[in-house]
C-alpha cells in the first residue's frame, strides 16, 4: 500500500493543485506570461544586437578593419594603393556603398548598392550563388539576393533599374545570391554591381567610399590600424568592426531599456496574479487549514503547504514560460524589425536572460505566495468549525497603508524630479529614478487599493443599485464586504491600464511634440528630396524649383555624415538667411540673434538638445569634427530642439562651412513655401509631374506629418504587444477572483437560490460585481497611469535626449476606462454562468 508514502504534506499540496485544475492552470498561466515576457525581451534584445552584428559582419566579411573617408563624397582611389602599401596589410579591397532604389517593372524597393571590384572582392567577402554567375569587371550587371528577387517578382536574366544621382540606370540580373554571406548584406537588401559602374552612376569617378582590409597573419590589427591611420591622415576613419557594434548597442539602448521596463512590469503583473491566487487559496482553504491545524499540523507546516503549491506552480510556470517566451520573442522581433528598420529573424537565446527569467519566475512566485502563506499559518484551528473566522490584523493593515502611502508619494515625487538637464553628468540616473518611481507608484497603489476599493466602489455601486435594484444592491454589498479581494482584482486592472496609459502618453506626447516641431521648425509647405537618402542635387536644380509656378520661397538643406571623434553624426548644412525665413528653430539655450550671426560667420554650429543632454554639452563649448582639412573645432552657439537625426544627434552648420570643410556645394533636399492662396498639394503635384524621371520624393506638409506620425507609431508598436499581454493577465486575474468568489460563496449562493433567487439574478449579480471591480481598477489605473505616463515620457527624454513635454492622453484614457469595464465583464462571463447554474443541493451540502 503506498497511501502512506504518498500522503505527505507535499502531496496534500499537490493534491490541492490537482483538484482545483482550472485555478492551477490560470495561476500557472500568470507565471508563464511573466516569465515569457521577460525572456522574450531578453531574446529580442540579444537577437537585435546579433542581427546588427551579423549585418556588420556581412558588410566587412573577413575584413579586420575598414577605412572611411571624411565625407560621403568619397575619397580618391589612390588611397587604396597607399593602404595596400602599408606594412602588415595583406589585402585591401575598394568599394562604394550607396542608398538607392531598385525598380523591377512597377515594383520598387529601397536597397543599398554595393560597388565592388569583382577581381578581388571575394578575398574578403563570401558570395554564394543560387543561380547565374559572378560579376565581370565592368558590365551593367547586378547580383541580387534570391529572396529579394522573389519578393519583387523578377528573375535571373531580367533587367532592373537602379537609381543613382537621381537618375535610373538599367542593370541585368546575372546572379542570384543565397541567403548567406554577401546575400545577407544589409539584411538581404543589397545589390552588387561592378565598382566602375557604381562610380559612373553615382558620379564618383575615380573615387571610393570605403576600403576593407585584412592584415597579414601574425600582425596585430591594432598596430596595422594605427599605421594606416597615420598614413592617410586624421580626416580618415580607420576602424575595427567591433567598434561599430558598440556604437550600435549604444543606439539600441533606449529600445532595450524600454522593453526591459515593460518586461519587469509584466512580471509584476504576473506576480500579482500569483499573489492574488494564493490569497484566495488561503481564503478558500481556510477551513481545511484549520482542520489540518486541529489535527496537529504546526504553523510552519501550513505555511509549507502553501509554499509547496507555489514552488510547484513556479517551476511548471517557468518551464512553460521558456517555451512561450521563445514564441513571444518571435512576435516582438517582428515589431522591433520595424522599429530599427532591419530584419531581426534568427533567435539568439542569451543564457543569462534564460536563467534570469526562470529565476525571476520562481522568485516572484515564491515572494507573491509568501504573504498569503504566512496568513495561512495564522489560520486558527477553530477555522475548521466556524463558518468564517475573519480576523484581519490591524498592525498589518497599518503597515500596508503606510508602505502604500510612501510608495505613492515616492512615485509621484520621482515623476516631478528634474529631467536629464538638471542632473548634468548623472543624466543617466534619471531613467532609473523614473523607472523606479513608476514601480514604487504601482506597488504603493496596489497596497492602498484595499482601502480605496470601498469609496471608489461607491461611485460605481450607486448607479448600479439604482439600475438593478435588489440584485445591484447585493453585488455592491459583496464587493465592499471583501475589499481585499476586490482590491486585488482591481489592482490587476489598474496595472494594465497604467501600462496602457504610459505607452499612450509616450506616443501622444511624442507625436504632439513632433507636430509642433514640424510646424515651427520646418515652416515649409512642401518638402522635396531624393528617394534614396544620399541623392544630391545641384544649385541649378534649386533655381529650377524656384521657378515652378506657385513656389514663393526655397531653402536648401544638405546632410553630411561627419565624424566627431569616434562617433558619426549628421551635419545639417543650411543657408542661414533663407532658412530663417522658413523656420523658427526652437532654441532651448543660447541668445537667438547672436547665435544666427555666429552661424553665418562660420566655425560655429547649433546642436540638438538630444546631443547636448546626452553629452553634457553647453553653449560656448567646442566640438571637434573631422573635415577634409583635418580636425577642426566648432563653437556651439545654440542648442535647438530637433527630431530629425538618427537618435537625435544633430549638428546644424552653414553651407559656407560645408563648402569650406567638406568640399560640398550641392543640396540633399529643399523646403518650399508656396505663394498665398496656392495649395501646397497643387505645387507638390506639379513638381512630381515635371520631374518624374528624377525619382524625387515630394511631400506637402500634411503628407509629411502623416509620415512622421506613422514612424512614431511604428516605433512604439512593439510596446502594444506587451500591453495586450498585460491585459490578458488582468483578465485572468478578474476571472480568477470571480471564480474564487463563487467557490467561496457556494453555500451562500445555494441559500440565495433556495430562497428564490433566479439563475438570471445570480448571474447578473456576478456580472455587476465584475463591472464595479473593473471600474475601481479603471479609476485607479487612470490616476496611476497619469503619473506613470509622465515618468515614461521623462525617462524617454533622458534616454533619447529628446525634450518632449508630457501631454495627458485624454481620449485614450476614456477609451481605456471603457475597455477596463468591458474586459472585466467579459472575464466574468464564465464565472457568472457557473454561479447561476450551481446545483442548489450540492452547494448546500458540502464545503
Amino acid at each position: 500500500m503506498e497511501v502512506m508514502t504518498t500522503l505527505r504534506l507535499s502531496s496534500l499540496a499537490l493534491r490541492n493543485l490537482g483538484t482545483r485544475k482550472a485555478r492551477t492552470i490560470l495561476t500557472t498561466l500568470g507565471v508563464v506570461l511573466g516569465v515569457a515576457v521577460i525572456l522574450a525581451v531578453a531574446i529580442t534584445n540579444r537577437s537585435t544586437i546579433d542581427a546588427f552584428r551579423a549585418m556588420i559582419d556581412s558588410i566587412t566579411g573577413k575584413a579586420d578593419f575598414w577605412v572611411n573617408g571624411p565625407s560621403t563624397a568619397g575619397f580618391s582611389e589612390a588611397k587604396l594603393a597607399e593602404v595596400r602599401r602599408t606594412p602588415g596589410v595583406a589585402v585591401a579591397i575598394p568599394g562604394i556603398a550607396r542608398d538607392s532604389t531598385l525598380y523591377a517593372g512597377k515594383r520598387r524597393e529601397s536597397v543599398q548598392v554595393a560597388g565592388i571590384d569583382p577581381r578581388v572582392d571575394r578575398k574578403l567577402r563570401y558570395f554564394k550563388l543560387a543561380s547565374g554567375r559572378f560579376l565581370k569587371s565592368d558590365e551593367p550587371a547586378a547580383l541580387v539576393p534570391a529572396d529579394l528577387a522573389g519578393k519583387k517578382k523578377f528573375k535571373l536574366g531580367d533587367k532592373v533599374k537602379l537609381t543613382g544621382a537621381g537618375v535610373k540606370h538599367e542593370f541585368k540580373v546575372i546572379g542570384l545570391l543565397r541567403d548567406e554571406g554577401a546575400g545577407r548584406f544589409m539584411g538581404g537588401n543589397a545589390v552588387f554591381i561592378p565598382l566602375k559602374q557604381a562610380q559612373s552612376i553615382f558620379k564618383l569617378k575615380g573615387r571610393l567610399t570605403y576600403i576593407d582590409a585584412k592584415v597579414k597573419t601574425g600582425v596585430s590589427v591594432k598596430a596595422a590600424v594605427g599605421r594606416v591611420s597615420r598614413r592617410l591622415g586624421e580626416s580618415f576613419i580607420v576602424e575595427q568592426p567591433e567598434k561599430r557594434a558598440e556604437a550600435v548597442s549604444q543606439m539600441l539602448k533606449g529600445l532595450q531599456v524600454g522593453l526591459s521596463f515593460f518586461g519587469t512590469i509584466a512580471m509584476f503583473v504576473g506576480g500579482f496574479l500569483v499573489y492574488n491566487t494564493f490569497t484566495m487559496v488561503v481564503v478558500e482553504q481556510t477551513q481545511e487549514m484549520g482542520m489540518v491545524r486541529a489535527l496537529g499540523a504546526t504553523r510552519g507546516q501550513v505555511v509549507a503547504l502553501v509554499l509547496i503549491q507555489a514552488v510547484v506552480l513556479g517551476i511548471i510556470g517557468s518551464v512553460l514560460g521558456v517555451g512561450a517566451g521563445v514564441a513571444l520573442a518571435k512576435v516582438l522581433m517582428s515589431y522591433v524589425s520595424k522599429t530599427v528598420e532591419l530584419p531581426v529573424e534568427s533567435i539568439s537565446v542569451p543564457v543569462l536572460g534564460l536563467a534570469g527569467a526562470v529565476g525571476v519566475g520562481l522568485l516572484v512566485t515564491l515572494l507573491a505566495a509568501l504573504q498569503p502563506a504566512l496568513a495561512a499559518g495564522r489560520v486558527s484551528p477553530l477555522a475548521a468549525i466556524r463558518i468564517r473566522a475573519k480576523k484581519s490584523s490591524k498592525a498589518l493593515a497599518v503597515l500596508r497603508v503606510t508602505v502604500g502611502c510612501l510608495g505613492v508619494t515616492a512615485g509621484v515625487a520621482a515623476s516631478f524630479l528634474p529631467g536629464p538637464e538638471g542632473l548634468g553628468r548623472y543624466a543617466y540616473l534619471s531613467v532609473s529614478i523614473h523607472e523606479g518611481g513608476t514601480f514604487l507608484l504601482l506597488l504603493g497603489a496596489a497596497l492602498l487599493s484595499p482601502s480605496l476599493a470601498k469609496p471608489l466602489g461607491y461611485i460605481f455601486a450607486a448607479p448600479i443599485r439604482l439600475l438593478f435594484g435588489q440584485t445591484g444592491k447585493l453585488a455592491a454589498a459583496n464587493l465592499t464586504r471583501n475589499p481585499g479581494r476586490t482590491a486585488a482584482t482591481a489592482s490587476a486592472v489598474m496595472i494594465t491600464l497604467a501600462m496602457l496609459m504610459s505607452v499612450a502618453g509616450m506616443t501622444t506626447s511624442f507625436k504632439r511634440s513632433v507636430d509642433r516641431w514640424v510646424d515651427k521648425s520646418l515652416g515649409a509647405d512642401v518638402f522635396v528630396s531624393g528617394r534614396s537618402s544620399d541623392a544630391t542635387y545641384s544649385k541649378r536644380f534649386a533655381d529650377k524649383l524656384r521657378r515652378v509656378k506657385g513656389v514663393k520661397d526655397l531653402t536648401m538643406i544638405r546632410f553630411v555624415p561627419v565624424r566627431e571623434g569616434a562617433r558619426e553624426v549628421l551635419f545639417r548644412a543650411i543657408e542661414p538667411t533663407s532658412y530663417r525665413r522658413f523656420a523658427t528653430l526652437q532654441f532651448a539655450k543660447g541668445d537667438k540673434r547672436r547665435a544666427w550671426l555666429d552661424l553665418a560667420r562660420g566655425d560655429h554650429v547649433f546642436i540638438s538638445t538630444v546631443m547636448a543632454n546626452k553629452r553634457g554639452l553647453k553653449v560656448g563649448d567646442k566640438i571637434t569634427l573631422t573635415t577634409v582639412k583635418g580636425r577642426r573645432n566648432f563653437t556651439i552657439s545654440a542648442i535647438a530642439v530637433d527630431f530629425g537625426g538618427e537618435m537625435g544627434d544633430m549638428i546644424v552648420g552653414s553651407r559656407k562651412d560645408m563648402k569650406k570643410y567638406f568640399h560640398l556645394d550641392d543640396a540633399g533636399g529643399f523646403r518650399l513655401k508656396v505663394a498665398a492662396g496656392v495649395r501646397p498639394r497643387t505645387v507638390a503635384d506639379r513638381i512630381k509631374k515635371k520631374y518624374k524621371s528624377m525619382d524625387l520624393d515630394v511631400q506637402d506638409i500634411q503628407e509629411f506629418k502623416t509620415m512622421v506620425d506613422g514612424r512614431v507609431t511604428n516605433s512604439f508598436a512593439v510596446f502594444n504587444v506587451l500591453i495586450v499581454l498585460a491585459a490578458v493577465v488582468a483578465m485572468i486575474s478578474v476571472f480568477n477572483s470571480l471564480m474564487m468568489n463563487i467557490l467561496e460563496r457556494r453555500r451562500e449562493l445555494g441559500i440565495l437560490r433556495a430562497v428564490g433567487a433566479t439563475r438570471g439574478q445570480i448571474g447578473l449579480m456576478n456580472l455587476l460585481e465584475a463591472f464595479i471591480t473593473g471600474g475601481i481598477g479603471g479609476i485607479l489605473g487612470l490616476a496611476v497611469g497619469a503619473v506613470s505616463a509622465r515618468d515614461t515620457v521623462n525617462g524617454m527624454n533622458t534616454l533619447t535626449g529628446y525634450d518632449i513635454s508630457f501631454i495627458f492622453p485624454g481620449k485614450i484614457a476614456a477609451i481605456a476606462l471603457l475597455i477596463a469595464l468591458v474586459f472585466s465583464v467579459l472575464a466574468a462571463a464564465y464565472p457568472a454562468r457557473r454561479a447561476a447554474t450551481l446545483e442548489i443541493g450540492r452547494a448546500l451540502q458540502y464545503e
Binding site: M291, L295, G296, T298, R842, Q845
Partner: protein
C-alpha cells in the same frame, strides 16, 4: 482509572469579543477528567460546551484559569508547543465539515499520521480494522463529497482513533447519524476507551448517547452546575432529570 487527572481545568474562563459586546462563554469552570474515563458534557444551547471542548483541546486560548494535560500546563504555551502537545495527545471529532475535501476517505483517516511524519507500526492493519468498524470498506477511495453526512462523520471518528491519542474530544459526534450508526460510534468510542485507556470527552444533546458515558457533566451559563456518575439501570432517567433541572 488513574489517580492523577489526565485533564484538568481550574477556574477556566473564556470571554469572547473585543471592544464591542462581550460574551462570557465560560465562567471559572472547574473540571477533572481521569485516564480512561468517558465523559459526556451536556447543557442548553449556548451554555459553553463547545467552548470548553476547544479550550481543553488547545484549539483556542482561555482568557482566565489554567488547563493541564497530565502535568503539562496548556495555558501559556506557545502555539508551536501547543500544537505538538495536541498532536501527541488529542484527537477531535467535530459536528460538521470534518474532512479535507481533496483527500479520499482513507487518506483523510491517515492525515494525523502524515502530519506527525512517522506512521506507527502496524498502521495498515489498524486502518483495515477501522474501516471494517465504520462499515465503509467499499468507500475507502471516495472523496468526502461522495459521502453522506453520517458517513463523513464515521470517517472522522476513524481518523480520531488512528493515532490512538490519549484523549478524544468529540463535539456532538452522533448529531448527524441515524440511531444504529450512532450507537455503533458510541460503542466504538467506549470500547477503545476501555481497551486503549483512551479518555473521551463528548458533547451531546442526546440522553441516550450520554448514557454511554461513565460520568455526565452539566454546564449552564458557562459554569459546571452538576455532575452525574453513571452505571446504574436508570441512567437515562437520571440524565433527563438533570437536564430538566437546567431548564433545557
Amino acid at each position: 482509572m488513574g489517580l492523577t487527572p489526565i485533564l484538568k481545568a481550574v477556574a477556566l474562563s473564556k470571554t469572547y469579543g473585543d471592544g464591542g459586546v462581550e460574551v462570557a462563554a465560560l465562567k471559572e469552570a472547574n473540571i477533572e477528567v481521569f485516564e480512561g474515563e468517558f465523559i459526556a458534557i451536556m447543557g442548553p444551547s449556548g451554555s459553553g460546551k463547545s467552548t470548553l471542548l476547544h479550550l481543553l483541546g488547545g484549539l483556542d486560548y482561555a482568557t482566565g484559569g489554567r488547563i493541564f494535560i497530565r502535568d503539562i500546563e496548556l495555558t501559556g504555551l506557545s502555539d508551536k508547543r501547543l500544537t505538538l502537545v495536541r498532536r501527541a495527545n488529542v484527537g477531535f471529532v467535530f459536528q460538521f465539515y470534518n474532512l479535507l475535501p481533496t483527500l479520499t476517505a482513507e487518506e483523510n483517516v491517515l492525515v494525523p499520521m502524515a502530519i506527525g511524519g512517522k506512521p506507527a507500526p502496524g498502521w495498515q492493519d489498524k486502518l483495515d480494522g477501522l474501516f471494517k468498524l465504520i462499515e465503509l470498506e467499499g468507500r475507502r477511495h471516495h472523496r468526502p463529497d461522495q459521502l453522506s453526512g453520517g458517513e463523513q462523520q464515521r470517517v472522522a471518528v476513524a481518523r480520531a482513533l488512528i493515532t490512538e491519542p490519549a484523549i478524544i474530544l468529540a463535539d456532538e459526534p452522533t448529531g448527524n447519524l441515524d440511531r444504529r450508526h450512532g450507537r455503533e460510534i458510541l460503542e466504538l468510542l467506549k470500547r477503545s476507551a476501555a481497551e486503549m485507556h483512551q479518555t473521551i470527552i463528548m458533547v451531546t444533546h442526546d440522553p441516550g448517547a450520554a448514557a454511554y458515558a461513565d460520568r455526565v457533566i452539566f454546564l449552564s451559563d458557562g459554569a459546571v452546575v452538576k455532575e452525574l456518575k453513571l452505571g446504574g439501570d436508570d441512567d437515562i432517567e437520571a440524565i433527563i432529570t438533570g437536564l430538566k433541572e437546567l431548564g433545557d
